[in-house]
C-alpha cells in the first residue's frame, strides 16, 4: 500500500468506526434532542469517512470505497482504539466524544495546511463540523461534571476509564514522520500542548480531575485493536458480506 493511501486510510477509519459506534445511539438517546444530536454527529463523521475513503479508493485504483469499508478484517483497520470503545452510558459517550472532538479540531486545523490538496480540502470542510461537535460535547461535560454529586462521580469515572486511550492521539510512527517530512501529514507531537489546554480548561470548568498519564494503550497503527472492533465490524459488515449483490 502506498504511503499516502495508508495515511488517508487511518484518518478515514477513525471517522468511520466512531461514526458507526455513535450511530448505536440512534433511537436510544436519553432525550429526543440528544438522540438527534448524536445521530447528526455520527452522520457528519460518516460523511467525512466517505470523502476520505473515496480518496483512498482513487489512490488504490482497484477497490471501491464500499469494498474498502466492508471487506477488510480487524487487523486491516487502522482507527484509533478510542473510537471502538463501548458507548456505555451517556456520560461515557460524551467524555469519549469530547476527547476525540478536541483532538479532531487540532488535527484537522493542522491537516488543512497539508500540501496534498484533497486532504487539505477535506480537512477544511471537516473542521467546521468538528468545531460544532466540540461545542456540544464540551457543554455536556460541564453540565454533567458540574451537575449533581452523582453525575460528577459518574463522568469522573468515565474519564478515568477512557484516559488510557488518549495516548494514541499523539503517537508518531514511521509513516507519520514520512508524511510530515513531505508536508502532507500532521505533527501529532505538536498538537499535544494545544489539546492539553482545551481539555484542561473544560475539565476545570466541569470540576473534574484530569487523570494522571499512566499506561497508555497503543497499536492501532499496526492494526492491533481491543476486542470491541470485531463486534462493530460484525454488525457493520454483515449485510454486504452476506448479500454481496445487494444494492443500496
Amino acid at each position: 500500500m502506498k504511503d499516502l493511501e495508508k495515511y488517508t486510510l487511518r484518518i478515514a477509519d477513525t471517522s468511520l468506526i466512531l461514526a458507526q459506534r455513535l450511530s448505536e445511539w440512534c433511537s436510544n438517546g436519553p432525550t429526543l434532542e440528544e438522540d438527534i444530536a448524536l445521530s447528526n454527529i455520527s452522520l457528519d463523521l460518516f460523511g467525512q469517512a466517505n470523502g476520505l475513503l473515496d480518496y483512498v479508493s482513487k489512490l488504490n485504483g482497484e477497490k471501491s470505497a464500499d469494498e474498502i469499508a466492508f471487506k477488510r478484517n480487524e487487523r486491516q483497520f487502522y482507527n484509533l482504539q478510542i473510537c471502538e470503545q463501548k458507548n456505555g452510558h451517556f456520560g461515557d459517550t460524551i467524555i469519549r466524544q469530547f476527547l476525540c472532538d478536541s483532538y479532531f479540531k487540532l488535527f484537522y486545523s493542522s491537516l488543512a495546511n497539508s500540501k496534498d490538496e484533497i486532504l487539505s480540502a477535506i480537512a477544511n470542510k471537516s473542521l467546521k463540523e468538528v468545531e460544532y461537535h466540540l461545542r456540544h460535547s464540551s457543554n455536556w461535560v460541564i453540565r454533567l461534571g458540574d451537575g449533581t454529586k452523582e453525575s460528577n462521580q459518574k463522568i469522573q469515572t468515565s474519564l478515568n476509564q477512557i484516559w488510557k486511550f488518549t495516548g494514541e492521539f499523539f503517537e508518531m510512527d514511521e509513516l507519520d514522520n514520512i508524511m510530515l517530512k513531505k508536508n502532507i501529514g500532521v505533527d501529532n507531537n505538536n498538537i499535544k500542548e494545544k489539546w492539553d489546554l482545551i481539555v484542561n480548561k473544560t475539565l476545570k470548568q466541569a470540576k473534574l480531575t484530569r487523570p494522571n498519564d499512566g499506561y497508555m494503550m497503543n497499536g492501532s497503527k499496526q492494526g492491533l485493536h481491543t476486542e470491541y472492533l470485531g463486534k462493530i465490524l460484525a454488525q457493520m459488515q454483515y449485510l454486504p458480506r452476506a448479500y454481496p449483490d445487494a444494492k443500496w
Binding site: E34, D44, A121, K125, K128
Partner: protein, 150 residues
C-alpha cells in the same frame, strides 16, 4: 454556442428544489459551484453542505432527472470540497424565502420567523437536518428551526 447551453443548465438547476427545504433551489442553497463544458460534456461541480448530509445524494439524482427530462445527457456531476460550503453564499432574497417558509435564516442571531421576536431560547443545537438547530420563541411560544451559520 455552449455558453447558451450552460445558461440553460443554470436555469434548469434553478428549478431543482432542495430535497429537505423545497422553498429554495439547489442553486440558491449555494451547492452548485460551477457549470463548464469540457471534452464534449458538461461538468457540474457540486459541493456538499455537510459531509454527511443525506440530501446530497438525493439532489444529485434530482439534477440528473431534471437534465435528462430536458434532453441533456452529456453531463457529469463532480463533487468538490474546496472552498468548503458556507451559508455566506446565500443571498438576502434566499434568506427571505427561508423566513417566509418558517425557518430562521443563517444570520448571526436567530429570530422567530413567526413574530420576529428576538427573545428566544435554544432547545437543541441539532435539528431535524444537519444544517439546522432548534429554538423556541419566548414571546409567541412557537418552536422554530434556525439555519446554522457555517
Amino acid at each position: 454556442m455552449q455558453s447558451g447551453k450552460i445558461a440553460e443548465i443554470w436555469t434548469l438547476l434553478g428549478s431543482v428544489p432542495d430535497p429537505e427545504i423545497p422553498a429554495i433551489s439547489v442553486v440558491e442553497l449555494g451547492v452548485i459551484r460551477d457549470v463548464k463544458f469540457l471534452n464534449n460534456e458538461f461538468i457540474i461541480s457540486v459541493t456538499p453542505t455537510y459531509s454527511g448530509c443525506p440530501a446530497v445524494k438525493t439532489f444529485q439524482d434530482d439534477i440528473k432527472t431534471q437534465l435528462n427530462q430536458n434532453k441533456i445527457h452529456n453531463f457529469k456531476i463532480e463533487i468538490v470540497y474546496k472552498p468548503a460550503w458556507t451559508t455566506d453564499w446565500m443571498s438576502n432574497e434566499t434568506k427571505e424565502k427561508l423566513r417566509k417558509y418558517g425557518i430562521s435564516p443563517p444570520e448571526k442571531f436567530a429570530q422567530c420567523p413567526q413574530c420576529s421576536s428576538t427573545s428566544i431560547e435554544l432547545i437543541s443545537e441539532f435539528g431535524a437536518t444537519a444544517c439546522k438547530s432548534l429554538y423556541k420563541c419566548t414571546d409567541c411560544l412557537e418552536p422554530f428551526e434556525h439555519f446554522k451559520c457555517i
